[in-house]
Assembly symmetry: C2
Homo-oligomer: 112 residues x 2
C-alpha cells in the first residue's frame, strides 16, 4: 500500500463492519444498503479487499463456523481498523465541507 487514499468500496466495507461483525455476503448486502443501492460490490472486489484489509490488520476474523457444511468466516474491525475508519471519515468529511464551501462562495454573491 503506497499510502494511497482509501476508495469508496473499501470505505463502505469498513463502515459495514463498524456496528457489528459480518460475513462476506452480508457485507456486500450491507454496502449496497448503506449506499442506497448505488454501490453493488463485486465479489472480486469484496474478497480481494477482505484479504488486503486482513493483511493490513484493519479487520480480523471474528468467528469461523460451519453452516450447511461450508465454512463461513465472520469479520470484525480491529482497534487500528476503527481508528483508520474514523480518521478516513473525518478526512473526507473535511474535504466535502471545503468543496461545498467553495462552491457556495462563487455560486453566489462573490461574483468577483
Amino acid at each position: 500500500m503506497t499510502d494511497r487514499a482509501m476508495q469508496e468500496p473499501t470505505l463502505l466495507l469498513l463502515t459495514a463492519l463498524a456496528d457489528e461483525p459480518r460475513h462476506g455476503y452480508a457485507i456486500a448486502r450491507e454496502v449496497e444498503s448503506i449506499s442506497g443501492g448505488r454501490v453493488k460490490m463485486r465479489t472480486g472486489t469484496l474478497y480481494g479487499a477482505l484479504e488486503r484489509l486482513l493483511q493490513q490488520g484493519l479487520i480480523e476474523v471474528h468467528k469461523e463456523e460451519v453452516v450447511d457444511s461450508r465454512l463461513r468466516r465472520t469479520y470484525t474491525l480491529t482497534a487500528p481498523g476503527r481508528t483508520a475508519l474514523a480518521a478516513e471519515a473525518e478526512r473526507i468529511a473535511a474535504t466535502a465541507r471545503e468543496a461545498t464551501r467553495r462552491l457556495g462562495a462563487t455560486g453566489k454573491a462573490a461574483t468577483a
Copy 2:
C-alpha cells in the same frame, strides 16, 4: 466502468477550482494547502487528471496566456463540473456520517 467513484486527488483538484480559475501548478499548491499538506499531487497525476476531466467536460480551459514565452493554461469548472463536485461532496459526506454514526454506536455499546 467509467462510473467509478472519484478518488481523492481528483476530488481535491476540482475543489481547488471551485472558487476561482487556476493553472496547473497553482492547482497542485492549492491541493496541498486544502489537504493540510497531506496530499502532494504529482505532475503525472495532475496533468493526466486535467486531460481526463477536460474530456469528461467537468472542467474547461478558462484562459490561455503566454508568460515568459511559455504557454500557460488556466482551467475552470464547467456547470456539469460544479454539479458533479457538489454531488460527490454530498455523497462522501453521507458516507462519512454513516461511518461515524456506526463507530459511535458500538464504541459505547448503544448507551446512547
